[in-house]
Every structure is written in C-alpha cells, then in structure tokens.
Amino acid sequence: MEEESGEELGLDRSTPKDFHFYHMDLYDSEDRLQLFPEENTRMRKEVVQAEMANESTGVGDGNAQRDLREEVEELVHLHGLEDDHELGDEFVDENMPRMGVSEYPPYGLKRRDPAREQRDWRLSGEAAEAEDLGFGGWGSAGQCQDLREVYRYTHGRASEEYECYVIPEEEDEEEAADVFCVTCKTPIRAFQKVFDEHKEHEVIPLNEALESAKDEIHKNMYKLEKQIIDMENFANHLEEVFITVEENFGKQEQNFESHYNEILETLAQKYEEKIQALGEKKKEKLEALYGQLVSCGENLDTCKELMETIEEMCHEEKVDFIKDAVAMADRLGRFLKTKTDVEISAQPDFEDQNLDFSDVEQLMDSINTIPAPSAPVINPQAPNSATGSSVRVCWSLYSDDTVESYQLSYRPVQDSSPGKDQAAPSPPIIKTKEIRSCEEAVLICWESGNLNPVDSYTVELTQAESPEASGVTESVVGIPTCETLVQLQPGQSYIIYVRALNMGGPSVRSEPATVHTIGSYFRLNKDTCHPWLTISQDGLMIVRSERSTPTREPPPRDTHFTRCVAVMGNLIPVRGHHYWEVEVNEHFDYTVGVAFEDVPKKEDLGANCLSWCMRHTFASLRHKYEFLHNGTTPDIRITVPPKKIGILLDYENSKLSFFNVDLSQHLYTFSCQLHKFVHPCFSLEKPGCLKIHNGISMPKHVTFY
C-alpha cells in the first residue's frame, strides 16, 4: 500500500490563485541593496516570512529585499528538498547582524518553475533584510513553535530538515510581530498600526493569520492529493497501453514467424524434391549405360571366344577342320547377324530443370494477409438438438482466428429403410411421478410399453406456451434405456412425449408429461423410507404416527433407513443450485438436510460424514437447534423458532444453507465437499409430520448466500 500524506512539496502549474507566494529573485539579488542599513538591522525581524505560514507546502521562506521606498515585485521560489543544505549555509550567514549595505548571499534556491504565479508584495514601509530564510527572524519562540509544527505536519521529512535551521532568537522578543496586516500581507507590530502605511489597513491577530494560513495549506494539500491520484491513474493507464503494445507486437511477431517458416519449409522441400529427381535421373542414365557396357563386354567376350576357337580350328587336322568349319560358319553367321547396338543409350546431358516457385511466390504474397482460420471443431451432438427434419449443429473455434463467415455442408450418411414386415412398437408410458427436475434440466423415466425389445427411444419436447401447432419440437434421439436427462431453459414449462423405435418405425407419442423449470422438483424415495413413516400420495408429506410400530413390519432392505426414522428424496443429479422448503411445527422433533445416496441407513442423520442436517428438539418448553455433520454441531441458539425452513444446496460453492423463510433470516451455512450428488433427507424423531414444498424459485434473500 502506498501512503500519500502530503509529502509532495512541489506544486503543479495550475495552482489556484489563493496561494500566497513569496517572490524571491535569485539572480538579480545583487542589484538590490539596503538603503537604510540602520533600519535594516532593526527591522530585520519584521519578516515578511511571517507569510510563510500562508504559503503552500514546502514553500521556502525568504524575505524579499526591498527598497524601502519602492514596491518591487519579486519572485519567490519554492525550496526543493535538495536545497536544504544550502539553506543551512544561508542561515548561518544571515543571523549575523549586518550593517550597511551588504551583498546578498546568493540564495541556494532554485527557480522551481517559471510558470508559477506571482504575487505582488507590499511590504511594510521598512526594508526587510534579504534572505532571512526559514524561521530565523521569526517573532516569539512560540510562533516559531507553531510554524514548526505546521511545517512538520505538512512537510514530513522536509520539515525535519527545516527544524534544524530554526534558531530562536531571544532578542527578537521585544520586537515581535504580533498582529497581521491583511492589506500588506505582512506581520507587523501592534504599534505599527498607527504608522502611515497601516493606518487604514485591516489588521488581525497573528494567530488568526496562522490559522487561515494553515487552512490554506490544507486545502492545497487536498488538491495535491487529487492530482496525485489522477497522475497515478494515468500512469496505470499508460502501463496498460504499454502491455497492450507488447501483446500486439507478440502477435505480429508470431504471425510473421509462422509465415516465414512456412515459406522456408516450402523452399527446402522443393530443393529436396528436385535434387532427388536429378539423382534418380542420374541413376537411370548410369544404369542404362552400364547395361550397355555389360552387353558390350559380353559381345566382346563372345567375339574373342569365337576367334580363339577359329584359331584352334585352323590348327586341326583336315577332316576335323572341315566339320568344325561348317559349324563355325553357321555360328559366325548367326552371331554376326545379331545387331550390335552401338548407340549410346543415355545422353550425358541433363535437361534443364524447370523450377516452379509459384507456390513460394504465393506464400510470400500472403505474408501480410490475415491467416486463414483453423478448422472449427464441431461439438458432439447434444441432446434435444434434432427433430425428424432438422438438426442443430454447434461448433467452437480458436480465439486467435479472425472469422468472417462459416460454411456448413452436410450429406446424409445412411439411408434408413423401414423394415418391410415388422410392425412399429407401442408407445411407452412416462412415469410422471418420478420426474425430477431443476431449473436447467429434467430427468424422465418411463416404462417401455412393449413386450418385445425396442431399438431405441425418442423424447420429444415442446414449450408449453406454444403448443404443437406453432412451436418447435425438439427431439432427443437414440436413447438406449428407459431414462434420460434433458437440458432445458430455466423458468419455462415443457410438454414431453416419448416414442419407441424399432425396425418397423417409430411408435405414436406417449401420453404427455409436463415439466416446469422453476426451482427444483423431487419426490420422496419410497425405497429409502423407514417402516414407521408414511408418505402421502403426492409424495410430499411425511407422517410419523403415534403408533410406534405398524402392525406388519416388512423386513428391512438395505435401502431403507432402519435406525433413524427417515426418508430421502430423489433429487435430479445436476450440479448447480437447488432450493426447497419444509413446513414444520415448532413442537415436533425433526431433522432436515441432505445426504449422499450411500449414507449408512443404520445411523442417525448427521452422525456421519455423509450427511449434513439441521435438527430441532423441543423439550421442557425449550427449543434446541443443532447443525449436525459427522456427529458435531456448533453451539447455536435461535430465538424465533422457524415454521418454514428454506434449504439451499449450492454445488458450485460447496455450501448448504438453512433459512427461516417467513423472516427471511439466515440461520446457518455448512461448507461441504460434494464430490458426488446428494439428496434431501428428512427424519422425525418423534411423532409428527413434515410437508415439503418444492418447485420454488430462490427467494431474493437467499441469493446472497
């Protein structure tokens, strides 16, 4: 965190007009000389610096040296922090009494800002000595003290530096300025009021002047603060722009790089290809030539062989010679008839290669164009996205791409030919009592309605406001089992049908079922119900009667609660928010909450880590409330017993909250890890009843949790 507390000393250019400035002329100082040295000494203490109190933060004090008779404008320059050292030197010089005309010791002040506003100063009739900096020359030590404090407050660090320059001077006391002349804006001594210059002037006590000076300072501080904030905001903005420039550069760089690489790759590829082609050509030629060479060699060999044979023959006896000669003549004749090919089969020259660089050129040209987008990815077909004659296609694209339009094309993949002889199936029967829904989905199940197996089921839904005539019917096709979860829009009503399909075609529509996507809708699961509980026909009321055991107790199965007189609801397995309400009686002992499906049925609700619940016990006219999980509860007291409890199950934030609905009062919230789906659970520790309300949208006060 940064702290800004008026440490800034600099004023900006737009200081408003109510600043009072000392005018200090650094460079012309030598021209101004004391005309009346005696009076200088005496009046040294009548310092215009009293005005310092009026100045803004960090304003240096200084007396303008003036000619007694003249009224001259001077500039005051604010001290920068770096000037403090120089100030110190000045002080040491200044406080020596000076007689006569003296040079100004050069001021160590820097001219802060030439655009500063300037003010006329009218001094009292006397010349004040120049360069009484800081607090030297102040009136009483008390005033010194005040001013010191003012400065300490506004200057922070700077004022500490100033402090060491404060030199209270006792001899000043008898000449202390004790009133303030508003007209001349200078402190003066009371008796001076009767002097000519001040006779008609307005005079106020010095303390008042101090106060108003302080107020000025504070006002200006506030403005400074604002300025600081503005500049900071600007700096932040600049930072953002800076970052954006970097990002844009990054993108451009990437783009260029990839283009360039493409071109280089293409060129490299071409090179490879060409070289390889040339190589092959060479191989061809060489092989051809070699072949020729080989056959030449063979030819030669044959010739030589014949020659040798003939020579041998010539040395034979006459009879053998004649025999062989005839044979040889034949052979020779045949041999010489065969053509010898003395044409060279392969030319040594290679053809000129045509180098085709057109694609490289194309690439080069395209380097500045927007890159083609990447192929979109088609999402898998969602449920309720198809009808008999239409289908909804969704796709996603890469965020880096610039896309102007899409082109969608399709073709049928399979021609469905209806089975020739098979009859279409009968319509299924929706189990309306087991429909579970929430704001975003519905879980429907049905009976097949057919003895023979069917290939699949189709669920059709229309929005209830627009019945079949005009509304869109959405279908979910290809459902293999007798149950499906369909996504819906919140706050609507839907009519749902189911069809069965086989080779003979689709069945007619089933009887409709209606679903409202308001709140969450569930029924109690009779399979979990403890034998002592009775569930009403509509599945929303739980009663535990006075009789402790029913006449016939069926053998408990694993799914029933045995120890805890409880029952669970069947909540749709969809993450998100679910809200329901339970009407209770403040005299009943009850427990309401949620539990995982596999919560131990032999234990109490809330006694294990698989359930979270609120328990109310009414004993000795006192209401006890517990919020149980894993057997523990916080110590909690509720002064007004709720009559209707609202329960909010929030999967996203892992929270389970309980409310007093009538008072819109929040009671308690569990943080719970919900790695699987949970279901509402209810139990009655003593005879009584609970009535469940669901299909309610969340009340406003609940949405805060």
Binding site: M1, E3, E4, Y222, D635, L663
Partner: protein
C-alpha cells in the same frame, strides 16, 4: 461540515481513507475511516458501520481485520468511527482503560464532566450518517451495522433504539447486558449517574423488552473460550432470553475459535 482527508491508501483497487472533522456532538475533532470499494466509482453502495470495542480507535479495524476483500467482493462501503471523543482535556479521562477515552460506550452522557463531549450515541446514529450520506456515494436505504465487544453492544442499542434503520445487525463477542457487568456499571454510573433507571435507555437487554418490533435480523457471534465471557462481562444469555420471549429473531453462534480484533 468540512471534511479533512488525513490519509489515503490504495489496497488492490480500492481506497482506504481516514478523514477528520470537527464534531458538533462531541465538540472536538474526530477521525473516522472509510473504505471505498471499486463499485463506489460507478454507483451508490450499501453502507456498513463498524463499531469498535474498548481502547480502539478508527485504526484497529482497518489495519487488523482483513475485511477489505469481502467488502470489495460485495461492494460495501465501510465506515469505522473512533470510540470516543479525543483531546477534550476532560479531567480524569485517561485514568482507566475501560472508561472515557476509548470507551464511549456509544451512549450520550448526562453527567458532568462528560456530558459536553461524550455523546457518542448521537454521533454514531445521527451526525456521522448525515456526514457520510452527504459526502460519499452511499445508499442510505441500505445501511447495516456491526461491531465488536463494546462496539457490539453499541450495535445492539443503535438497532433497538432505531427500528427499521438497519438492514442487518451483527455483533461479535458483544457486551449484551451492561447494567449487570463490571464494565457497564462503571461506564453508566460515570456517564449517566447513579440512578440505574436511567441506564436502561442504553442497555440492550432492557431495550429488547420494549422493542416495538419491526423487522430485525441479529447475528451474534461469540467465542466459547473468551475470557471476558467467562468473567461475566458479556452476558449474552440474558439478551438471548429476552429476545426469545419477545420473539426478536436472533441467531447466536457460540464458536470454538474467534479472533479478537483489538
């Protein structure tokens, strides 16, 4: 009334500021801290007053509680005033840590020498809200209040004496029945005099009994092992019992661990 900004700190996008002004009720300069969430730049925010406990100033809550993130998330404008007038030079004001300076008990004193300056109740319920509503982007229709210890009691009496003014009321480890605990007795006899019937006007447990009963929603959070609870300074049971009888909705949560902010 002029507001002087004393300090301003930025903390992840929001502003924590401290202001000073001259209080009419308390006749002295008073400081208070305000927290402006990012939402304050664009619209009016609900306002939430925090009342601190004994010996605290406007600084304790803003530096130690770490509330900024939650306030930013929910866009809450949080105001934390000081616990008593300061620098009034009343004789005896610095003698004890649990009376006068830093221990205004959110009451309007009627006894000398306190009655000129120690009017913290009026300050917190009237002067300060007027100042805040006039100078900051807040929605006075959505005001709530919460506090700790002595401030928790302050919260309860402000809510009970001003039905319908606060949307929610939350008290942490609060004093609930001061007329019966040592702190309360000391404070009330000093500020309100010896006549105990006058103390009822600033005692939460009494006020509940005669509460006209417009909608209230009170949460009290208390640490089990709190020494002050064990020393019977806080006495929440009395308050709970009175609320149960009068059917004032309160949720009282006794927790294992709760940090003390002071």
């Amino acid at each position: 009334m002029a507001l002087k900004q004393i300090s301003s700190s930025k903390c992840s996008g929001e502003l924590q500021k401290v202001f000073e002004h001259v209080s009419v009720e308390l006749n002295c300069k008073m400081k208070f801290a305000v927290y402006l969430p990012p939402k304050a730049e664009t619209g009016k925010c609900p306002e939430l007053y925090w009342l601190s406990g004994l010996i605290c100033t406007e600084q304790n809550f803003i530096s130690k509680s770490g509330y900024h993130q939650a306030a930013s998330e929910h866009g809450l404008f949080v105001i934390a005033p000081d616990t008593s007038p300061r620098g009034c030079n009343v004789k005896g004001e610095d003698e004890s840590w649990d009376f006068s300076t830093g221990a205004g008990f959110y009451a309007d004193a009627t006894e000398d020498p306190w009655k000129t300056n120690y009017r913290v109740y009026s300050y917190v319920t009237e002067e300060l809200p007027q100042l805040i509503n006039a100078n900051f982007p807040v929605d006075p229709q959505r005001t709530s209040i919460f506090g700790h210890s002595m401030g928790g009691h302050g919260v309860l009496i402000c809510a009970l004496k001003n039905p319908g003014k606060y949307k929610s009321v939350s008290a942490f480890a609060s004093i609930c029945n001061p007329v019966l605990c040592p702190w309360g007795k000391k404070a009330f006899s000093g500020y309100l005099g010896k006549d105990q019937s006058k103390w009822k006007a600033y005692n939460a447990t009494h006020l509940v009994k005669s509460y006209p009963g417009s909608q209230l929603d009170i949460l009290i959070d208390q640490e089990k092992d709190d020494q002050f609870l064990l020393d019977e300074e806080l006495l929440p049971d009395d308050f709970i019992a009175a609320c149960t009888e009068r059917k004032i909705p309160v949720v009282f949560l006794l927790q294992e661990v709760l940090a003390r902010i002071s």
